[in-house]
Structures are given as C-alpha cells and as structure tokens.
Amino acid sequence: MSKEIKFNEETLALVHKMMARYPEGKHKSALLPILHIAQAEFDGWLSPATMDYVASILKIQSIEVYEVASFYSMYNLKPVGKCLLEVCRTSSCWVRGAEDVVKHLEKRLGIKEGETTADGMFTIKTVECLGSCGSAPLLQCGASYHENLTFEKVDALIETYRAEGKRKSYTDLDYKNTL
C-alpha cells in the first residue's frame, strides 16, 4: 500500500507560508518550491497523484503542474534510489575526470548510469554544470555538494550513505557536506 498523498499539518503550514510570499492571486509562484517539498515528502519523485495533490493545494489545473514538473531537471517523474548521485560532466568537470567518477560508481555499485541498485539505495545520474567548476569533479546528492572527488572519497561516501540508509532530498536542512 502506498502511503496517503497528504502533507502533515506542519508541512502544510510551511506551504501556506510560502504561498503568502507572493501578491494576492499570484500564489502559483510557489509551485516550484512546493514541488520540491512534495518530492522530498513522497518518496523522492513526483507521481501523478502527488502532482494532482499539489494542484489541489494551489487551486490550479493538474496540467499546470505536469508541464512544470516535466520542464525542470530536478524533478523526478519516475522513482529513484534513496540516494540520487548526480555527477556533473560538463567541460570543467570533464577535463578533471568526471567520466572516471561515473565509471567508478558504475563498477562499485554494479549498475549503469541511469539505473538504480536492486536494494533501491542508489541511482546514478549524469547532469550538466552544477556551478562548482573550481572544485571539479563533483557530485550532488540531496542538498550536499561533494567536491574535488577521488575514488577514495566516492567509496567513503557510498559507505556512509549505505550505513545511514536514509533518503537524501534537496530540501534537507544540512549545509554543504565536504566529506
């Protein structure tokens, strides 16, 4: 049984606070931040039911949510692992070994880029410039940037995440993790 798609009272209060940041009648502006919260709350992806729920909160058509969710890279329209490992691969990262990082992750986790481990723990994703070119190569997982990667750092990161066993979300309150 999948859990009910409904924010708890605390989250709902936060969502309404966000909507109040915008002028009367312009609360649709809160759509992007609310989708981030919804993704974090409901298993790391935006199912049609989740998107419909967000539409009902904002009192907008479901299609207005779908068209936004499908436009932006950070919204997952399919389930992903608890830890979505997003490896940057654009120029500055590429010249400093981003392809090595991807290959190492693939070998270490026994999956290919775009796939999820059988235990549902990790998904490897390659992404475009994350704005950390001076600390290349790097990967993002949830709110954390892991920079100046080496194979050892990647291994340690996987161990830590596996031991924690927690889902990582962009909305996590942790600051930069320089592991």
Binding site: E67, T90, E128, G131, G134, D174
Partner: protein, 447 residues
C-alpha cells in the same frame, strides 16, 4: 595585491553573520542611502560608477535602472538573478555562501533606488544549501530592523524573499527567470515589452545579477566617481572571476578590471599557472557561451598587445580573433585537452538546456550534439565540419533569447581556431583511442 571591494573580508571568521559583517562596515550603504540620499541620487551614483551587469551581458546597470517605468500605484520589483548556470561560472555561489549579507545589503539599497517594496532572489535549485544561508541572513536582517517595516526608522519598508528554481539553465535568461518565478516553465518571453515595462506579474521589474547587486554597496559607500577610477576605461571596478580547468589554483578571484590575462593565469596570486607545468592550449574566458581562444590569442591580441581582463580587451578583434568577458567563467585547457571532445560536452549541455520554443535552437542544438558525438566516436564524415558550421550559423540570431547564440558561438570558434583537430578526428578515427581526453582523478590527486 589588487583592489578588493567584494571579497575584502572573505577571510574574516564569522563574516557570514550579521554581527561580524556589520563590524566590518556592512550595511553602511543602507544607512547612507536611506538616511541621506534620494532614490534618484542612488541611481545617479550607479550611473556615474560605470558599473556594467556582471551576469554576462555587461549592460550598464545605471541605464537599466533608469529605464524602469514608474506609473503611480503600480508595484515595481527588483529580482536578483542567482540562477548562475553558465558552465565555468561559480562566483555568485562563492559570494552568497561566504558573505550572504553583501547580497542582502545590495538588495535593500537597490530596492530603495528603484522604489521596490518587494524583491525576490531567484536562485538555481541545485544551490539549495546556499538558499538556506541566504534565508538565515534575511532572518537576521529582519531581526535587526534592516528589512521589514520602516527600515532603520525611515519611511522605507521592504520585504525580500528567496525563491529556488529546479534545474534549468534557461532560467538565467531574465524573462525565463520571471516566468519561472511565476510558477511556470522557463520559456523566455518575446521582447518587447522589456521587464522594465512589464516584468514580474506584468509590473515594471529590474533583474540584476548577484555580483551586480552586491557591487552597488561599495559604489554607494565610496561614490560613483571614486568607483569609476578603479579598473580600465569603460571597464570600471572589480570583477569576480571563476577560474577552473587545468590550473594549479582553481577558485573565485576578485580582480581589478584591466589585469593582464597572462598575469591572471600564471601569477601565484591567482591561478598559479598550468598543472604539471604543462603548456596552455586554450581558454574559454567568460563562461561556455563565449568563443574559445587558442593560447596565442588569449595572451595577446591579434595586434600583439597584451590581452587584458576587461570587457573591451577580451572582445578586441571581434569573433575572428577575440572573445568576451561574459560572466567571468574562466576555463583553462592545457596542451593535452581534446578541443573536439570538450566542444561535445558543451553541445550536449546546450541541447539539454534548450527550452524548445524556437526551432533553430531546439533542432539545431540536437543536430550539433549528434554530429559531434559521431565525430568523437570515430564515425565522423568529412562533410561534418562544414555541416556544423552551417547549422551554428543558422541558429545564431534566429531565436527569441540568446541561448541559440550561446550554443552557436562555441562551435564556430572551435572550428575557426582548431579546424585541424576536427579533421584529425574524422580522417584518422583509428587514432582517437590514443588521443588523451582528460585527466584521470588519480593523476590529479597526485599532481
């Protein structure tokens, strides 16, 4: 040491807090502007400073501000473009992460100048943790009476909010950013009307880059004329440069405009030279969108004069032999770099980031990626180079927003300056496996 205006206190412990920031003279521009100046005075000082937009376009900020339409009874907005997504650029993140109050201070002073009661900082979604830092700084500012009603006991009231995006390079284009801020897809708008007339929610709006807004503080503190004495010619002031690639000391540097490129690359104060003592091959000086220049043209202009870090010098020679200062995303490539493969990473980027509204960009970026992919995989055809040239030429200037141009220019410049390398890939595919593509993580860790 060059002049530092934005990063002067970067190494002061606790500079991210309001307390330490104020001890170091923070929020002086708010005090000065709100208590001793009129909004127009502030605009005039910014005009006199010669400040040009630090996001990439380099448009004079004071002029942009003076275009703002001010009808009675209509809200006006200041929106900060913190969507920093241009490959090679990370200076805004550095500033916001380490000295968040410099942006908040600039938002207040600039909003006073523009008569904006509300401002939004639109930050790229990947920088979620930076958004948290900004929100914390904003909370501190409210608690200290620097935001909210009757700031510092004056008549000026202002609210500032942070809005996160969700991963889309196109939202760095100001009208796409406004669409996104309204909760829509980031599709750029057809201009005119410009945001100064009809921007956020159809109201007059100014959109400025993070660094531009933060720079308003030292301008108000020292006066526009004093600020204009820093730098060189029409490139006044200092600029944050994000340095990356094959250099010994990647990072964010504040330079006085006019610094010789050679000094920037090789001096210990800045990039510290090329890794492993290798030779310089090429530089992308202002973010991925600007033309790549080979070593001899980045160090000296075609006329043989030293190339300087300024708007004018970097564009000297036009696109035939010059480039642009752009966002200040300075990517250095050493002699081992494959220009063709590097270009492929850019082409893939632009294809991924095209919003899809305009056919030349939507289709053209896909074709360029596909052709470059087959070239780097050893399946290129002799006609591919001319085909790439033809496609980029047909994208340039034929789209609603500059993403099309941004996708075209790297392709055009790579072919212009490194055509032989493309021919090598196409004529000798058997050699591709021997072409060194990039540094491995281990080679760098040992370096």
């Amino acid at each position: 040491m060059g002049k530092k205006l934005l990063l002067e206190h970067i190494n002061v412990p606790g500079i991210e807090t309001l307390e330490v920031y104020r001890q170091k003279g923070g929020y002086a521009s708010v005090e000065k502007a709100l208590k001793t100046m009129t909004p127009n005075d502030v605009v005039e000082e910014v005009k006199k400073s010669g400040l040009r937009g630090r996001g990439g376009a380099g448009f004079p900020t004071g002029m942009k501000w003076s275009f703002l339409f001010k009808p009675e009874g209509v809200e006006r907005y200041l929106v900060c473009n913190a969507d920093e997504s241009e490959p090679g650029t990370f200076k805004d993140r550095f500033l916001m992460e380490h000295i968040p109050h410099s942006l908040i201070e600039g938002m207040i002073t600039s909003s006073f100048a523009l008569g904006a009661k509300t401002s939004y900082i639109y930050i790229r979604g990947e920088y979620f943790y930076v958004a948290r830092i900004l929100e914390k700084a904003i909370d501190e500012a409210y608690a200290a009476g620097l935001l909210g009603k009757n700031i510092l006991g004056t008549d000026f009231s202002h609210d500032c909010y942070v809005q996160v995006g969700a991963g889309a390079y196109i939202c760095g284009e100001e009208t796409a950013l406004l669409e996104s801020l309204e909760g829509k897809r980031g599709n750029p708008r057809i201009k005119p009307p410009f945001p100064a007339i009809a921007g956020l929610y159809g109201c007059p709006t100014v959109v400025n880059n993070v660094e531009t807004i933060a720079t308003v503080c030292p301008i108000i503190n020292m006066g526009g004329e004093e600020y204009a004495k820093i730098g060189i010619g029409r490139s006044t002031g200092t600029k944050l440069i994000s340095a990356s690639g094959h250099i010994n000391k990647p990072g964010t540097y504040e330079i006085e405009l006019g610094l010789p490129v050679e000094e920037f690359i090789y001096s210990e104060e800045y990039c510290g030279g090329i890794i492993n003592g290798n030779k310089l091959k090429a530089v992308v000086a202002g973010g991925s969108s600007v033309p790549v220049l080979p070593a001899h043209l980045i160090l000296k202009t075609e006329k043989g004069e030293p190339r300087l870090m300024s708007y004018e010098s970097l564009s000297e020679g036009g696109f035939v032999s010059g480039s642009m200062l752009g966002s200040g995303g300075f990517i250095v490539y050493d002699e081992t770099t494959s220009i063709v493969k590097n270009l492929y990473t850019f082409a893939r980027f632009y294809h991924h980031e095209s919003c899809g509204q305009c056919s030349p960009c939507r289709e053209g970026t896909g074709w360029m990626e596909k052709i470059l992919h087959r070239i780097v995989e050893g399946h290129g055809k002799p006609s591919d180079i001319d085909l790439l040239w033809d496609i980029q030429r047909k994208i340039e200037g034929n789209t609603i927003c500059p993403l099309g141009d941004a996708a075209a220019w790297p392709v055009a410049s790579a072919i212009r300056h490194f055509r032989a390398e493309f021919e090598e890939y196409i004529n000798h595919p058997e050699k591709i496996k021997d072409i060194k593509h990039y540094y491995s993580v281990h080679q760098l860790a040992g370096a």
